[in-house]
């Protein structure tokens, strides 16, 4: 269950007033929110996402004085989360995905988007079914490892290994095609 803005804000204000129980409840409630936030925006692995979630929790704790009690809490939270994500990419000197890329693709060229999807289907079709399914579920449909494992009726580590092997095979194929 996702906590609502009012609920989160009440817990945050409780924490600001010095209530440790309320503060702990807030941090726990933020974990699924932040996981979903980063998962939707980052192609990276689960480890990266968990690192970011923890860093964001620490920032929420140490910088909580900058939350203005009269303003929207989730706006503050996601501003912190977005900053942490950009900082994460900057530290690793990688490119940052643009928010709302799907919209830009739709507006700028439906053809490119559908070509990309066709390419993706073609590439995934060459993989063993289990690997393709795991990649599709986690990377395209945005499910978590646990959800994917439940859906396919296999273990979590099996899903992780499938994703890893599948991506590796895809990467090898793509670099081969480019040459």
């Amino acid at each position: 269950m996702r906590a609502s803005e009012d609920h989160l804000r009440a817990m945050m204000i409780g924490g600001l007033d010095g209530d440790a129980v309320s503060h702990a409840a807030l941090l726990r409630a933020l974990v699924p929110l932040l996981r979903a936030f980063y998962r939707r925006r980052m192609p990276g692995g689960e480890d990266d996402i968990e690192d970011l979630v923890q860093e964001t929790l620490i920032a929420v704790h140490t910088r909580r004085a900058t939350y203005d009690r009269d303003r929207v809490f989730t706006a503050w939270l996601f501003a912190v989360a977005r900053y942490k994500m950009i900082d994460h990419f900057r530290a690793r000197r990688r490119t940052c995905p643009i928010e709302g890329l799907e919209d830009i693709l739709l507006a700028e060229g439906f053809e490119d988007a559908s070509n990309a999807r066709m390419d993706m289907d073609r590439l995934l079709a060459d993989l063993p079914a289990k690997q393709a399914q795991a990649i599709r579920a986690t990377r395209i449909d945005g499910l978590s490892i646990t959800e994917t494992a439940d859906r396919a009726g296999i273990g979590e580590s099996d899903v992780k290994v499938s994703i890893h092997r599948g991506l590796k095979a895809l990467a090898a194929r793509i670099t081969g095609e480019r040459r």
Binding site: L16, G18, A20, A24, D68
Partner: protein, 216 residues
């Protein structure tokens, strides 16, 4: 570390946070830096000996008002940029207020120039200390800037270059305010040129180092 353990550790000690904690933190940083700058001026440069006479004249208050109004504007901007959900810079329309003291001082400068023969304009503009003034303002702003860096350690700026520039601007104008205690210059165009240049240098330096020093 496990996320649950992390949460347990973080919520082990939850100190209450007062309202206006951001403002307090910035004020404390500025004050601490300002004290250091004031001591540096008193020891290194010396307070002007005729300060009590000068405080009755208008040019002292002109300089003071000019630098103070810049400092107030800059500090409001710092306080806004210290929060992660700060509005975009172009939405900070009241930043244009910064131009009000500049224009007023320019008007005073023009009136002063109209009253003296044009042969004296150059002497009025350069004064006795135009070569030192901007650099002294820049150097004296360093302790205040460091004070603000300390403030930022608990704050959460997300636009680091803008926050650095605003902090530099605030530090520069506060340093210029304190520098008035030493500086014997009297003309408005001197202040308009060389003080402003020093403050702008401080803001530029802040913008330069902001992304590196304000990261969190």
């Amino acid at each position: 570390m496990n996320t649950d353990t992390l949460i347990k550790n973080l919520s082990a000690e939850v100190k209450p946070v007062r309202r206006h904690a951001v403002g307090r933190r910035i004020a404390l940083g500025i004050l601490a830096g300002g004290v250091v700058t004031a001591i540096l001026i008193a020891i290194g440069l010396g307070i002007r000996p005729d300060l009590d006479v000068a405080m009755h004249g208008y040019s002292f208050w002109m300089k003071w008002t000019y630098t103070l109004s810049l400092a107030v504007c800059a500090l409001f901007t710092v306080a806004r940029l210290a929060r992660p959900d700060a509005p975009r810079l172009r939405r900070l329309r009241w930043l244009w207020l910064l131009l009000v003291p500049v224009c007023l001082l320019a008007a005073i400068g023009a009136m002063e120039m109209a009253r003296v023969p044009s042969g004296e304009w150059l002497a009025m503009w350069l004064g006795q200390s135009w070569k030192k003034c901007p650099w002294l303002v820049l150097m004296l702003s360093a302790p205040i800037f460091i004070g603000l860096l300390w403030s930022f350690r608990r704050l959460a700026p997300t636009r680091l270059r803008a926050a650095g520039a605003a902090a530099g601007l605030a530090a520069g104008s506060c340093a210029a305010m304190l520098y008035c205690l030493h500086c014997p210059e009297v003309s408005a165009i001197f202040v308009l040129t060389w003080y402003t240049l020093g403050i702008a240098l401080a803001a530029g330096a802040g913008a330069l180092v902001g992304p590196r020093l304000l990261r969190w």
